[in-house]
């Protein structure tokens, strides 16, 4: 039926998605990743054909609201989804296929080559084991060393992420740490085996704003220390702005815009991105009422045929309702957008104000 067609009929992303990196050097090569969850209400198409590349040392941001599929897509890479999930497509880590790989192989990659940091540091650590022990455990899971050696490495890492008195702190329990320190410890746990990719799933959402900046800075520091690429998943555009090389905007399970962070922010080529940028409260002189994007995201069970954003889009045309646009090149280099009407945004001097203006469709 229509659902099946939708995921296959989006054209594959063009091969040159990553700047100046030959395919063999890519750390991650994701093509047409799709994740479906059968539920009692129908099949939920959480991820519908996502493709991207990740170069070594690159920081890729994935932006989207809740339900856009950003977390699910990343968890699918390292096999952390429940057994009921149906994953299809390809995700190659340094040329090795992750989707459908053997459990043992995935387990050796998880935590060692690809590490993940989760949102809530309060609950992410086991309350009955010491922090140092939990970090040492991550080492021993992949290397045949003694507890003593692993513990030493754990203390080193805690020190690296800026936890004071790391040696004695390692003997404390998670509930004795503050929220920011806990997240630092989680970062330490993620980098302890020198991974090639760190997936950070909303790492700062549960923290105070002041602590957020520190954590992001720590992340960037350690990235250079261990030479890792980062996938930063967030719904907060501010987090993206300061940190990220490239950004993918996701909506309703697909990437709808992708490109260099500065380009996408300054010259978006997709109305959804424009709407996102326009809805952020600004501390500048621009003092008017906030402009949200009206409406809500579509049901991931009953996906209609055309562009999922069309009910809310001010630039909507009949072609948008009929056919779902594929991710295609725009006027700028390495800047892709899934929109039939992206050209409308080229000449727009203030794309952020798109939703505020009245548009007469042509």
């Amino acid at each position: 039926m229509n659902d099946e067609q939708t995921s296959t009929h989006i054209p594959e992303a063009p091969a040159t998605m990553s700047p100046a990196a030959a395919p063999e050097e890519l750390v991650l090569k994701v093509r047409n990743l799709s994740v479906d969850f059968p539920t009692s209400d129908g099949v939920v198409h959480a991820v519908r054909g996502v493709s991207y590349d990740l170069a070594p040392g690159e920081v890729l941001g994935i932006v989207g609201e809740s339900g856009s599929g950003k977390s699910v897509a990343s968890m699918a890479l390292i096999g952390l989804l429940p057994g009921t999930a149906r994953i299809s497509g390809s995700a190659k880590f340094r040329g090795e296929e992750l989707i459908g790989a053997k459990d043992k192989r995935i387990r050796s990659i998880r935590g060692q080559r690809i590490a993940m940091i989760f949102q809530d540091p309060m609950t992410a650590m086991n309350p009955v084991h010491q922090v140092g022990k939990q970090l040492a455990e991550a080492v021993r899971a992949h290397h045949d060393v003694s507890w003593g050696a692993a513990h030493k490495r754990a203390v080193e890492m805690l020190d690296l992420v800026g936890i004071p008195q790391a040696k004695s702190r390692a003997k404390s329990y998670p509930h004795e740490f503050s929220g920011g320190m806990r997240q630092r410890a989680m970062i330490a746990m993620a980098i302890i085996n020198n991974p090639d990719v760190i997936i950070a799933d909303e790492p700062t959402t549960a923290l105070d704003v002041t602590v957020q900046a520190q954590i992001l800075e720590t992340l960037l520091q350690v990235k250079d220390e261990v030479d890792a690429a980062i996938i930063m998943i967030t719904h907060d555009l501010g987090v993206i702005a300061g940190m990220v090389d490239r950004v993918n905007v996701m909506y309703a399970g697909r990437t709808v815009e992708s490109g260099d962070a500065f380009q996408v922010f300054d010259r978006p080529r997709m109305p959804y991105t424009a709407g996102l940028l326009g809805s952020v409260p600004s501390a500048s002189k621009d003092t008017t009422l906030l402009t949200p994007i009206p409406g809500s995201p579509p049901s991931l069970v009953h996906m209609p045929e055309g562009c999922p954003f069309s009910p809310r889009c001010p630039l909507v045309q009949q072609v948008c309702i009929d056919t779902e646009p594929g991710l295609a090149s725009t006027d700028e280099v390495e800047h892709f957008s899934a929109c039939h009407r992206w050209e409308e945004l080229v000449d727009d001097p203030e794309p952020r104000l798109l939703f505020r203006r009245k548009q007469v469709a042509t």
Binding site: R107, F118, A124, P127, V128, S146, M186
Partner: protein
Amino acid sequence: MFFFIVRRMLVSIPILLASTFLVFGLTTMAGDPLSDLRQSQSPNKEVQIAAMRDRLDLDKSVPERYVNWLKGVPKLDFGKTRDGQEVWPILKQAMITTLRLVVLAVVLSVLIGLAVGILSAVRQYSLFDYGATFAAFLCFSLPVFWLAVLLKEFGAIKFNNYLTKPGLSTAGIILLSVIGGLFFWGAVGGTWKRRAIGGATALVASFVIFGLIDNKHWLRNPGFSRPVIAIFAALGAIAATAMFAAPSNRRVLVPSLLAAGGGVLSTYFLGDWLFRPDWTRLLLMALMATVFGIAVGLALGGIDRAAAARASAFAALFTGGVILFDEFISAWRPGRTIATVGPQTPNLKGTFWPRMIDYAGHQILPSLALALIGFAGYSRFTRASMLETLNSDYVRTAKAKGLAPTQVIMRHAFRTALIPVTTLITLSFGSIIEGAVITERVFAWKGMGTLFVKGLTDVDPYPVMGFLLIVSLTIIFFNAVADILYAYLDPRIRVV
């Protein structure tokens, strides 16, 4: 910690006083101890009435009698029964009897309940889970004494008939093999293929084993030969390695196997100690086994010394257990072993093992009755607790670190799930003692429960008070233990 305990004791005293006073009052209200004497036709009725009145201080008021009783407690003078016997010696004997009954029941139900609960949670919605759930609910819904009567009939009378000429019919072998296969099919996880292979191997293995058992008429004269003991010992060592580290970890496996081997070798020179032991010798042997295991583990474990020591100690003790079990079953002869009256055969003589067989025969049914009901609660609760931890964020982190599934379950999910379960176990001691009341009645064990019921029906206040005091003290003690255990297991609530 010390002050914590002291504070608990102090708080409990007024509760104890209040409850003992209430119970005393209620017991005296429950009836008149002289009622049946009054109706008796005996010629020296008046003398007997006067004697009883004197014994039980019936002339004095209730509060006075209570205070008198209370004064005697520190001196271990719990008053006298209606017939003039001292309560304390009777109480002491009853306590030992009930303890024997309860301890075995609790150990059985905890071990099986925990194991089933963990497996049910990990293999949720599998055949095993449904089966275990149904079994647990069924045990919950059984009236204790109805179960006990049924056990007496089928577990004793009919089973004893079988025990006089034990053997396995072909149908029996096939049935047991099928059960073995199904169990492994449910317990092993993973894809259909893995489960089918597991189930099929178990089926074939069971068939072979049970076939051999029947063929050699093993059941008529049970016992393990040394090679068989060695096989069990090796399996125990492998299991220990899997539990305390990973099954393929050579640094732990080798010392464990050596410890197990050492245990098997010990049968060559421990001869008489095994054949005619007493409790001291048994304790010494257990100690030696543990020390030996730890030593081997520490010596050969390399960087995994700690885990190796634990696994080796476990393996050594397990091997010891297998050897002792062999001695135990070797002492058995076909006959009507299962008994339903009392804790042992009166005036029993014999060496250690035959006596043990007798005790076991008497104890298995009542403890089983109690254990079945306890197991239901523990397995359900463990399952619920495990489900909660398996769903938690830190288990997800553990998986994200790349830990092996067994380690995720044992070191993270189970460890945290254990906390509420231990409090459940410690707190349920009280209700087990009450459940024991019925079981003691059915199987004619003269324990605390019988004492209590007899005291109630005969309107004999002092044994009832004795029972209550012991039970209350036990409950208070176990409540305190529960709190302490909780603090030990959960660092979050260790308030200095």
